[in-house]
């Protein structure tokens, strides 16, 4: 099985690129180029990695969260049915029966008091 042939032209071009990269890497130029291209500023003067605070706060002036306000939460008024339903939520069957017994006596009593 033969290996995939390499174009002599392409091979020569690859060697040139590799040489250029090696030269830029050894002189530190590639790091400076990358930093300039990626961030547009010198990271060493903008950030002190030994500290937590931001040295140059101008970087964050556009994204400061102080202009964001939490929306006011307005609770809808509850109906009486909702209030009673919530108050019954934790009652067991015995307690509910007790309620029914009391009210069932109260209604006929009101009729007699008219």
């Amino acid at each position: 099985m033969s290996e995939t042939p390499i174009s002599p032209v392409l091979d020569k071009k690859s060697e040139q690129i590799a040489h250029n990269v090696q030269e830029r890497y050894s002189t530190g130029q590639i790091d400076r180029d990358f930093a300039q291209w990626e961030y547009g500023f010198d990271t060493e003067t903008q950030f002190n990695l030994e500290r937590d605070d931001v040295v140059n706060t101008e970087l964050w002036s556009d994204t400061t969260p102080t202009t964001i306000e939490a929306p006011a939460y307005v609770e809808a008024p509850k109906t009486r049915a909702q209030e009673v339903e919530e108050s019954y939520f934790y009652l067991d069957d015995k307690q509910l029966l007790h309620q029914a017994l009391g009210i069932s006596k109260a209604v006929p009593t009101m009729r007699r008091l008219v």
């Binding site: 049915a81 009673v84 339903e85 069957d93 006596k105 009101m110 008219v114």
Partner: protein, 143 residues
């Protein structure tokens, strides 16, 4: 004021006792009919053509009655009777099935009973449902 004038006035406006206690002349059955009308509205809007009543018949019995005309123009009636016992609430639908209700069904019924009581206490008997005291005829003064 002459007796005749008083009599004529009472015929026109009702006696003083009637104006302060207008429900006194109603029978218990008529009071129940008034209550049933309020009770029927506790479960939300009543569909057109439906008649719904929910009321306390006596100290031990609650009735949920519903009538409507179906798509075949046949009159349909459902009547549910709830009997309040010391040991539980017994449910009978159309006089057939008896069972003690529990859980969510019991909670829903007691919720309806409570709202019914509060509504008729205020709306018909003019009483505070929490204390039983008569409600003031005049609204509280506003500043």
């Amino acid at each position: 004021m002459s007796d005749m004038f008083k009599k004529a006035l009472s015929l026109l406006t009702g006696s003083p006792a009637d104006t302060t206690r207008p429900l006194k002349k109603l029978t218990e059955r008529e009071l129940i009919e008034l209550e049933a009308e309020i009770g029927g509205q506790l479960f939300g809007a009543i569909p057109a053509g439906h008649r719904r009543e929910f009321f306390c018949l006596d100290e031990h019995t609650w009735i949920w009655h519903e009538e409507w005309v179906d798509e075949n123009r046949q009159r349909q009636v459902t009547s549910t009777r709830y009997e309040i016992h010391d040991t539980g609430i017994l449910k009978a639908q159309d006089g057939k099935v008896y069972k003690f209700i529990e859980g969510a069904e019991l909670r829903n019924l007691v919720l309806a009973i409570r709202l019914y009581y509060e509504a008729v206490a205020r709306g018909i008997y003019r009483r505070d449902p929490m204390t039983g005291a008569p409600l003031s005829e005049t609204p509280p003064a506003t500043i």
